[in-house]
């Protein structure tokens, strides 16, 4: 997914983003995130907002096993780090016993291809 920079983004900001990208995604991140210069779409967005947007994009991109289709490409999606209330909810989640009982009663047949 290309990052869209406004021409007014300073060189220092670009360096900061590039460094952060390499730290997060490794040396090949430049291949994944091709950086292009301004378009009219972003002309009114201050550089700081673009930076925030890039960070959000990074959070939605990923490393792990699953993948999604976006802008004509299949990309992998990472699991988020679950913390706070979400973590409590997940750790204390109830097991759907009825569903499991029903599934365990079934005898699934699997054969090799």
């Amino acid at each position: 997914m290309p990052f869209i920079f406004e021409t007014s983004v300073s060189l220092a900001t670009r360096r900061e983003i590039a460094k952060d990208s390499i730290k997060t995604f490794g040396k090949n991140s430049a291949k994944r995130f091709s950086i292009v210069k301004s378009t009219s779409i972003t002309q009114n967005i201050p550089p700081k907002q673009i930076y925030v947007k890039i960070h959000l994009l990074k959070l939605n991109e990923g490393f792990a096993m699953a993948f999604k289709y976006e802008n004509g490409k299949v990309i992998q999606v990472s699991m988020p780090h679950i913390t706070g209330e979400d973590a409590k909810k997940m750790l204390n989640a109830k097991v759907p016993k009825e569903l499991i009982k029903r599934i365990k009663a079934k005898k699934f047949i699997t054969e090799a291809a």
């Binding site: 792990a64 096993m65 699953a66 993948f67 999604k68 289709y69 004509g72 490409k73 299949v74 999606v77 699991m79 988020p80 780090h81 679950i82 913390t83 979400d86 973590a87 909810k89 997940m90 750790l91 989640a93 109830k94 097991v95 759907p96 569903l99 499991i100 029903r102 599934i103 365990k104 079934k106 005898k107 699934f108 047949i109 699997t110 054969e111 090799a112 291809a113």
Partner: protein, 172 residues
């Protein structure tokens, strides 16, 4: 049993990749079809290098012909606070276009997606006999905007892990 599953080794997935892609029908909407084919193709590539385990489902009564759907499962983990929890991840759940949203009386009064998901749960328990795993997780395609799909997963016991992300889980 009116239906059965077939498991694919890495070499079989490689040998049959093209045939498997041609064996199912994608959405009639060209952009959706393109997305579905790309995702299935990716799952097949993962299966070729054993990054995911691929299964297909068929109707043994021959009422419905050919491959009805795919499910791809892999091992992963999720960080909950400071603890890494091992999980079984559904990399892909795909139903051939003509069988979507249909409940089949002769297939346990179930939808194909339901049978695939139930199979994933059964596989989860098989894995758990040998290796510790805590959750079955998935990432619904197109996320929360795909309301019908999300409602289906919720009906099967899945919940969103956070409000900010699209991942869903069921504790088993």
């Amino acid at each position: 049993m009116p239906y059965k599953f077939k498991s694919y080794t890495a070499s079989k997935a490689k040998q049959e990749k093209r045939a498997l892609l041609n064996a199912v029908k994608f959405s009639k909407d060209p952009s959706k079809a393109q997305r579905e084919e790309a995702l299935l193709s990716q799952a097949l590539s993962f299966a070729q290098n054993s990054s995911t385990k691929l299964y297909t489902i068929k109707d043994t009564t021959s009422t419905l012909k050919g491959i009805l759907g795919f499910i791809a499962l892999s091992a992963s983990d999720v960080m909950i606070e400071d603890t890494k929890k091992p999980v079984v991840l559904i990399d892909l759940l795909f139903v051939t276009n003509q069988c979507r949203s249909t409940v089949y009386e002769h297939l346990d009064n179930s939808k194909i997606s339901q049978l695939l998901l139930e199979y994933a749960v059964s596989k989860f328990y098989e894995v758990r006999e040998h290796i510790g795993v805590s959750y079955l997780i998935l990432y619904p395609e197109r996320g929360r905007e795909n309301k019908n799909l999300v409602a289906f997963y919720q009906s099967m016991g899945f919940s969103y892990a956070t409000n900010k992300h699209e991942w869903m889980y069921v504790k088993l």
